[in-house]
Symmetry: C2
Amino acid sequence: MSENVDSILGDQASVPAAAEFARRCRDVGLADTPQRRVIFAALTSSKDHPSAEVLHGRVKERLPRISLATVYRNLSLFVEKGLVDGVATASSHARFDANPHKHHHLICKSCASVTDVYSAAYDALGVDRLESGGFEVQEIKVTGYGLCPRCKTKETNDA
Amino acid sequence: MSENVDSILGDQASVPAAAEFARRCRDVGLADTPQRRVIFAALTSSKDHPSAEVLHGRVKERLPRISLATVYRNLSLFVEKGLVDGVATASSHARFDANPHKHHHLICKSCASVTDVYSAAYDALGVDRLESGGFEVQEIKVTGYGLCPRCKTKETNDA
DNA sequence: TTACGAATGATAATCTTTCCTAATCCGGTG
DNA sequence: CACCGGATTAGGAAAGATTATCATTCGTAA
Ligand SMILES: [Mn+2]
Ligand SMILES: [Mn+2]
Ligand SMILES: [Zn+2]
Ligand SMILES: [Zn+2]
């Protein structure tokens, strides 16, 4: 950690962006560090949906000494604090389901439990209603994220 | 691999189920093996959404010598062939998104690329419309799975 | 400026998933 | 039913991904 912040962030529109990021960090109780600024800026300026490792590669252009662990650590924090979204793709840590009836899922943000949801309204969501631009949509899944009953009560007792 | 199939599958309703499974395997071009029968049966009789490792634990009660690699291998095949569903939870292999505008995603089953979708109709899906039974739903995401333009053309050229 | 809790970097430890190879099994044939 | 050839498995190891640890450094509020 030797570079100074201005040179790290570059000259572009980073001044107002940096102030904005500092405010958002304060709001969620995170310290405003150069690493976080750069990670967040790299993700914000990404048009794709990079993985932690890809992001680490991009961030290293600005902060060559940053650790991969720091990137993982802060992405998790950002997701936890709601500063960014995590997109669950497939494979890896997957859960499996042989229930042949059409249904959707509720996933607990706290314990990762999966609950089935049956909804005629959701089943009826047409693939055709998607603005899919060349993408061949084969199926649509509606997923609700939140807190399962068990975790909800636990949450309130924690305070 | 020494136990015989009947003793492995037990006496319950496994006879018709076994025949049904054999047929579905044939349909998708997979051999009907004892390991696959037991893995599939274990998943079918699960009311939860087990991970590969949890399933391995359950399957081992019937086939103590089965390898974890066999479970992973066959779950992937089952998903690929459409015999079961994979449920993407979070963490691990996650992709990240700092796009602050409400939107949904299309995920390519072939290359795992993620494409943004903006849809007022999907945004309007009310949390309240979910039959959520005690689950506190905080947000709803609609995800379309299929083939991205690049993979779609690749697919047709492969044949 | 000081003091202290928070964050980082480096690396070890843990998963999770895939690969590899010899041995075994499956499905069809004679 | 015995046999063959290709498909599949067990097992272990390798690879890949993520998290934990800890000494050191930094950021923040007083
Ligand atoms: Mn389900
Ligand atoms: Mn997105
Ligand atoms: Zn929960
Ligand atoms: Zn694709």
